[in-house]
C-alpha cells in the first residue's frame, strides 16, 4: 500500500472534524473522495499535507510504510506527497521559476539526485507547461499573483507535473473552473498518471470524474468514510445526492 490511514481523528480549534477515518490507496490507483459540505474532505487533505492548523488526536498514517505524521511538511513533499490547493496562495515578488527551481531541487536532493542545471530546468518548465497548456508568460510572473481562478488551478497541476509526485491529492481542483479549463486540468492529471503513482481527487461534482476516471469513489461524512464504490458511484450520487447513503449509514 502506498497510503494507509487508520482510525484518523483530528481537531481544529478544539472541534473534532475527522472521527476515525480509514482509507487505503495502492500504487496506480485513482481515488475520488466526495461528500457533503463540512464532512471533512479538505481537512483530510490538509492533515495529510501536514497543515499545522490541524491537530491529529488519534490514529495512524503510513506513507510507503513510514509514519507520515512524524514527518515535517517539507519532507512529506520531498517524499512525493503533493497537495493541489483549493485556494492557491499568491506570493508577491517570488517568481514561479525561482520558486519551482528551489522546490524541484529540494525534492531531487531528498532523492539523492544532483540539482538540475539551469538549461535542464528551463526545458523541464517548458515541457511541463505544455502539459497543462500554461502560458509561458505565467511562469515568468510571481507565484499566482494576478492569476485568474482557472490559471491558479492550472498552475497547481503545472507544479504537480514539475514535481512528479508519488501521491497527488487534488483538493477541489475543479471548483471555479469553466469547462475548457476543467478539461485541461483533468487531461493534465491523466497524462501524469503512471503505474507507480496514485491520485486522490477531492471533489463536489461528478463532472470532473468524466475526465479523471477513478478506480474508487468514497463518501466522506462526519469525519469518516461511510461508503466506497466504483466509478459508477459518482453517477449515482450525482443523480440522487448523499441522502440515501447517509440514511443507510445512520441506521
Amino acid at each position: 500500500m502506498l497510503l494507509e490511514v487508520k482510525n484518523l481523528h483530528c481537531m481544529v480549534d478544539g472541534k473534532p472534524i475527522l472521527k476515525g477515518l480509514d482509507f487505503k490507496v495502492g500504487r496506480g490507483e485513482v481515488h475520488a473522495i466526495m461528500g457533503p459540505n463540512g464532512s471533512g474532505k479538505s481537512t483530510f487533505a490538509s492533515v495529510l499535507a501536514g497543515n499545522p492548523k490541524y491537530e491529529v488526536t488519534e490514529g495512524e498514517v503510513l506513507y510507503d510504510g513510514v509514519n507520515l505524521l512524524d514527518m515535517s511538511i517539507e519532507d512529506r513533499a520531498r517524499a512525493g506527497l503533493f497537495l493541489g490547493f483549493q485556494y492557491p496562495v499568491e506570493i508577491p515578488g517570488v517568481s514561479m521559476a525561482n520558486f519551482m527551481r528551489m522546490a524541484v531541487n529540494a525534492r531531487r536532493e531528498y532523492l539523492g539526485e544532483e540539482p538540475l542545471s539551469a538549461a535542464d530546468f528551463l526545458r523541464l518548465m517548458r515541457d511541463k507547461g505544455a502539459v497543462v497548456e500554461l502560458d509561458t508568460k505565467l511562469t515568468n510572473r510571481a507565484v499566482n499573483e494576478g492569476f485568474s481562478g482557472g490559471e491558479k488551478k492550472k498552475n497547481e497541476i503545472f507544479q504537480m507535473a514539475m514535481l512528479d509526485p508519488t501521491l497527488a491529492i487534488l483538493d477541489e481542483t475543479d471548483s471555479g473552473l469553466d469547462i475548457d479549463a476543467l478539461r485541461i486540468v483533468a487531461n493534465g492529471v491523466t497524462k501524469l498518471k503512471r503505474p507507480d503513482n496514485a491520485t486522490i481527487v477531492i471533489t463536489h461534482y461528478q463532472r470532473l470524474l468524466d475526465y479523471i476516471v477513478p478506480d474508487f469513489v468514497h463518501v466522506l461524512y462526519q469525519g469518516r468514510i461511510i461508503h466506497t464504490g466504483g466509478k459508477e458511484l459518482a453517477l449515482v450520487l450525482e443523480e440522487e445526492g448523499y441522502d440515501r447513503i447517509i440514511n443507510e449509514y445512520n441506521k
Binding site: I73, E90, P92, L163
Partner: protein
C-alpha cells in the same frame, strides 16, 4: 551644569574656523556664519519634537565625538559594496580622496566638491546650498557650517552621461569616536541624463556620527536615476538630509536602500518646482537587533501637473525600530497633481516596532492623491504553501521576504549595481 549642545558645537566651529575654511572660496565660507545662526535659532530637535520622536538627535550629538578638519583615512577593498563603475568619486570622512576634478570632453565634471568650488565657482555657486533647507532643519544647517568637501557631479545642458557615476562615502573611526560632515552636489542640467549610484559605507568599532547632505538638481527635461545605499558596520549614527529639486518635465527615479548599521535618520525633501515633473521615490530598510531607521520624506508639489510616487518598504526584527513619515504637500495652485504614497512593513518579531504615518496636506482641488500604510507579519499561508512544495521553512521565509523587497530592489539603476544590491539585501534577509 552642562553647557547646551548648541554652544559646544558653535564653539567647535569658531575655534576651528580657519582650518574649516581653508582651501574653500570665501563665498562658501560666508554661508557658514548664516547657517550657524540658523542652527542656533532652530537648535537641535529634542525627541519631544513631533518630527523627531523616533530618533533622539540630541543624544546622538551629545556623544564624545572627535572631529578632524583635515583629510584622514583611505578606501579599502571592503568599502566597495557596490563596484566602482564608470565615473568614480571616493570620499572618506568628509574629504574627497583626490583633490582633482575631472572634466570630460562633453563638459561633464566630477570629483571633489571643494575643488569644484574653487575652480568652477560660477557653476557651483548657482546650486550649492540653494536646494538644501537651512531654515528648517538644524542638522542641515550644521552640515553647512562644517562641511569642507564631498562629491560633485555636473552634467551640463543636453549631455547624456555615457557611464554611471559611483560616489562612495566612507565613514570610519579607528582610534576615536568621530563626527564627520560630508556633502554631495549633483547637478543634471536641462535635457541632460545621468545615472548615479551612491554608497555610504564603513563603520568602525569606536562609533561614528555622519552628517551628510545631498543636494540634487534636475533641470528642464532632465532625467536622473539615482540609487543610494547605506550599508555600514558597527555603531554608526547617520543623519542624512536629502534634497532634490526638479524643474519642468524632469524625471527622477530614486531608490534608497538602508541596509543597516546603527541608527539612521533621513530627512528627504523633494521640491517639484516645474510643471510636468515625474518623481518616483522608492525606499527599503532593514533593521534588526537594536538598529533604528527613521525616514522622513516630504514631497512638495509646488506647481501644477506633476506626478510623484513613493513606495517605502521596511523589515524589522529583534528590538529594532522602523519609522516612516511621509508628507505630501500640494500647493494651492498645483492642480492636476498626482501623488501616491505607500508604506509597507513586515514585523518579524513582537519586540520590534514600526511606526508609519502618512500626512497629506492638499490645498488644490483637482488632484489625485492616495496613500496606504500597512504593518504585517509573514504570511503563514504562503510559508505553508511553499513548504508543501518541498522548501524548508527557513527557505520559504527567506523567499517570501525577498519577494517582499524585490519590487524595490529591482528598480535600482545600473544592472551591475542592482545585482550587487540584490545580493546585499539577500545577505541582510539571511541575518534577519
Amino acid at each position: 551644569m552642562q553647557r547646551p549642545l548648541e554652544e559646544i558645537l558653535s564653539e567647535l566651529y569658531l575655534s576651528n574656523i580657519d582650518m574649516i575654511g581653508e582651501g574653500v572660496p570665501s563665498w562658501v565660507n560666508a554661508m557658514r556664519s548664516g547657517a550657524l545662526e540658523n542652527f542656533n535659532l532652530l537648535s537641535l530637535p529634542s525627541s519631544g519634537n513631533e518630527d523627531y520622536q523616533h530618533t533622539d538627535i540630541r543624544r546622538m550629538f551629545a556623544g564624545e565625538w572627535e572631529t578632524y578638519f583635515v583629510p584622514s583615512g583611505e578606501i579599502r577593498a571592503e568599502d566597495r559594496v557596490v563596484p566602482a563603475n564608470g565615473y568614480v568619486v571616493d570620499v572618506v570622512n568628509g574629504f574627497c580622496l583626490s583633490d582633482e576634478l575631472t572634466t570630460l570632453d562633453n563638459g561633464i565634471v566630477y570629483g571633489s566638491l571643494r575643488a569644484a568650488m574653487s575652480t568652477i565657482g560660477d557653476v557651483v555657486s548657482k546650486y550649492y546650498n540653494k536646494i538644501a533647507d537651512n531654515e528648517r532643519a538644524a542638522v542641515t544647517a550644521l552640515n553647512t557650517v562644517f562641511a569642507q568637501d564631498g562629491a560633485f557631479v555636473y552634467v551640463p545642458n543636453g549631455v547624456k552621461a555615457e557611464l554611471p557615476f559611483t560616489l562612495t562615502f566612507v565613514g570610519r573611526s579607528d582610534e576615536q569616536a568621530q563626527m564627520c560632515f560630508s556633502r554631495a552636489l549633483i547637478v543634471v542640467e536641462d535635457g541632460a541624463e545621468a545615472d548615479v549610484v551612491i554608497a555610504h559605507v564603513g563603520g568602525g568599532d569606536r562609533g561614528l556620527l555622519a552628517d551628510h547632505v545631498r543636494e540634487v538638481y534636475t533641470g528642464t527635461d532632465a532625467t536622473l536615476k539615482i540609487t543610494e545605499v547605506k550599508s555600514t558596520g558597527g555603531e554608526v549614527f547617520s543623519v542624512n538630509g536629502n534634497y532634490l529639486r526638479q524643474e519642468c518635465g524632469s524625471r527622477v527615479d530614486m531608490v534608497n536602500l538602508w541596509l543597516g548599521g546603527g541608527v539612521t535618520r533621513v530627512n528627504a525633501v523633494t521640491d517639484l518646482a516645474g510643471a510636468d515633473c515625474e518623481s518616483n521615490l522608492h525606499g527599503l530598510y532593514f533593521a534588526n537587533g537594536t538598529e533604528r531607521v527613521d525616514v522622513n520624506m516630504t514631497v512638495n508639489h509646488l506647481v501644477p501637473d506633476c506626478r510623484s510616487s513613493e513606495l517605502v518598504k521596511g523589515v524589522v526584527s529583534g528590538e529594532a525600530v522602523g519609522a516612516f513619515t511621509g508628507k505630501v504637500y500640494v500647493a494651492p495652485d498645483a492642480q492636476r497633481t498626482e501623488a501616491f504614497q505607500q508604506s509597507r512593513n513586515i514585523q518579524l518579531s513582537e519586540t520590534a516596532k514600526v511606526y508609519t504615518e502618512p500626512q497629506l496636506e492638499i490645498y488644490a482641488d483637482d488632484v489625485k492623491c492616495s496613500h496606504g500604510a500597512t504593518v504585517g507579519q509573514m504570511d503563514e499561508e504562503a510559508v505553508y504553501y511553499m513548504r508543501q512544495r518541498g522548501l524548508s521553512e527557513a527557505d520559504a521565509k527567506r523567499l517570501q521576504l525577498f519577494g517582499f523587497v524585490n519590487d524595490v530592489i529591482s528598480k535600482c539603476s545600473g544592472d551591475a549595481a542592482c545585482e550587487c544590491l540584490a545580493g546585499l539585501a539577500q545577505a541582510r534577509i539571511d541575518e534577519m
